[in-house]
Amino acid sequence: MTVGNTRISGNAGAATDLRAFLEGDLTEIAAPVLLNNMGWSYGTGANAVNVVYADTVPVGNAATVTMDINAGAYLDVFERLLSLEAVKLIYIKNNSTEATLEILGSGALALGICKVNTDVIVIQPGGTFMWTDPSAAGLDSSTNVNIQLTHDGTGADGVNVDVIILGLD
C-alpha cells in the first residue's frame, strides 16, 4: 500500500512587502512596493518541479566547492541521489559576516546561467542570490552541471552557504 501522493506545494521566488513614507508639507506620501513570489507544484510543466535540493554547503577559507548537481553526489530533501536534468530555481545565501562568495564560473561545465561559462556573480557577506526559470523545460543541467562556490579568502573562517535548488529529476 502506498500512502499519500508525491507532491509539492507552496511559493518560492522574490517577494517584497514594503511601505515607504516621505514626509512633506501638510501631507506625507506613502508608496507601497509589492511583489508576489511564484507558486510551484509537483510535475514537469511550467511552474512545476519534481525534485528539491535544500542544504547548507560548507566552503573553507579561500576554498572552492564545485557542486555537480547531475552526478548523484548530493541528496535531495528526501535523501535520494540528486540527479537534476533541469534547473528552475536557485537560491544561494552567503552566511559569512566577512567573506565574499563567488558563484559559477567553473568553465566548460558551468551551469548555463551566465552568458559565458567563466562569468562569476559576487555575493557579499550576508547577501543572497536568486534566479528562476519557471518554463516547463527549465535550464538544462544534463551537460552544464556545475555550480561553483568560491570563498574569496577574506577573514579567517570558512563559510556555510545555504543552497536551495528546484528542478527536474
Binding site: T2, T16, R19, F21, D119, G126, W131, I164
Partner: protein, 174 residues
C-alpha cells in the same frame, strides 16, 4: 509644518515557503524548505535603505537599455516618490523578465558595470518569465558612484514587439 516622518518598513528579498511530500509504504514523508526575505527599514545602516527605484522598462526585439543608477539616466529617472534618482550604493536588485519568448542579458556594459559581477563584462541570463534577485544587506552596500551601470539587453529570441522588464533597486541616496 512638516507632516509625518520619512520612513520605510517591511520585507524584501528571496522568499521560499515550499513543502514537498513523498508518497511511501504506510507513510508519507514531508519536508519543508523555507527561506525568509530580509526586513528593511529607512536609514543608512545594515538592512537599511533610503532610496527605492521601482519601474517597468520597455524593450523591443534585440534592444538594450543601460540604466545609470547614480545619474538617473536614461532620461530623468525618478525614485518611488518622484525625486531624481541618484543612488550611490546598491543593496537590492530585482529584475523580472515578463516576456513569454525573449531572454534577457544582464550586465556586460564594460568598465562601469555594477559590482554584482566579479569582472566587468560578465553577464547573467534571465529566461522568459524568470527573475534575478541579488541583495547585499550590509551598511555600505556596493558602491555605485563609479560603477554605475545596469545594462539589460533583449536576446532577440522572441518575436518582434514590446517586452516589459520589471526593475526594483534599493540603496542609498547620493
Amino acid at each position: 509644518m512638516t507632516v509625518g516622518t520619512t520612513r520605510l518598513s517591511g520585507n524584501a528579498g528571496a522568499s521560499i515557503n515550499l513543502t514537498a511530500f513523498l508518497a511511501g509504504d504506510l507513510s508519507e514523508r514531508r519536508v519543508p524548505a523555507i527561506a525568509n526575505a530580509f526586513g528593511w527599514t529607512y536609514g543608512t545602516g545594515a538592512n537599511q535603505v533610503d532610496v527605492i527605484y521601482a519601474d517597468t522598462h520597455t524593450l523591443t526585439l534585440g534592444s538594450t537599455i543601460t540604466i545609470d543608477l547614480l545619474a538617473g539616466t536614461p532620461g530623468s529617472l525618478l525614485d518611488i516618490f518622484g525625486r531624481a534618482l541618484t543612488m550611490d550604493a546598491l543593496k537590492l536588485l530585482y529584475i523580472k523578465n515578463t516576456s513569454a519568448d525573449s531572454g534577457l542579458w544582464i550586465g556586460g556594459q564594460g568598465a562601469d558595470d555594477l559590482l554584482i559581477f566579479k569582472a566587468v563584462g560578465d553577464i547573467i541570463y534571465v529566461p522568459p518569465g524568470g527573475i534575478f534577485l541579488w541583495s547585499d544587506p550590509s551598511a555600505a552596500g556596493i558602491d555605485t558612484t563609479t560603477q554605475t551601470d545596469l545594462k539589460i539587453q533583449d536576446d532577440s529570441a522572441g518575436v518582434a514587439g514590446d517586452r516589459y522588464i520589471e526593475i526594483i533597486a534599493m540603496g542609498l541616496d547620493d
